[in-house]
Symmetry: C2
Subunit: 152 residues, 2 copies
């Protein structure tokens, strides 16, 4: 067997699918990872605006458990991506796009959370796990979660 075989020539099947499909799955996970931070910020900003009328970096930092400069940098990126608008030394606003993303994230978060609770998980662990899981569930899985939770 040549070196080439293992890597590409043979459609090596390890778990029922060729390597390429697996690579796509990992690519998807990497994409999700790069969106996660933005989603967490946008979701939190929407919540702060809803509850307190404004979203200030200091509150974002406290809730995310990071330092102020980290927040500044992240907000710069979000602004660059068109998800928020802001002026120096002022609090943060969501653009239409940011608001749409926030709504979508909230929806996913709540479905996952309700699902975990309906499985019998305690509230604290459910919240913790939902935070991690919500960025990695497909629409299809989400639909099953929602159906299960409303049936339970």
């Amino acid at each position: 067997m040549t070196q080439r075989d293992l890597a590409t020539a043979t459609p090596v099947v390890t778990d029922g699918r060729p390597a390429d499909l697996r690579a796509e799955a990992f690519q998807g996970v990497r994409d999700a990872r790069s969106r996660e931070l933005a989603e967490d910020y946008v979701e939190l900003i929407a919540e702060l605006i809803h509850d307190h009328g404004e979203a200030r970096p200091v509150d974002i930092a406290a809730r995310l458990g990071v330092r102020a400069p980290t927040v500044t940098k992240a907000l710069d990126r979000l602004a660059r991506e068109g998800l928020i608008s802001r002026a120096k030394y002022r609090s943060v606003f969501l653009t239409d796009e940011g608001r749409a993303l926030a709504r979508e994230c909230r929806r996913r978060h709540e479905i996952v959370l309700r699902f975990l609770l309906s499985l019998g998980l305690d509230a604290e662990t459910a919240e913790h796990d939902a935070e991690g899981i919500e960025h990695h569930v497909s629409e299809r899985t989400l639909a099953l979660f929602a159906a299960f939770a409303s049936k339970a």
Copy 2:
């Protein structure tokens, strides 16, 4: 109300828990994120060794969907962390610690996968989502998943 109140003085409760606990959740997610890559590599290396007798960077790269230098760098880090051992231009071996981690990852992966399948998800989506979710489920959630899957 002073500026300080929102951030720290008042134990602001937004979703039933003070901000500090939320910060811990996000901290946990960040920790998980930093472990994810190592876990993906170790799991894959174990699988390649099992199926093909050896784990070569070229195969790792193909399956993860990244370029060779990315793999080299990642393997350097894994070696530094004591999870793998390797010699230049040679294939990769797991240390005892690496093997233990691989076993643990495989266990989690399979529980999550079986759970998603037992919910009625198609195989491809299940595999895809399991890849993303497996790093973010607590032991407690995993136990519930396992129980549900074996009951279904």
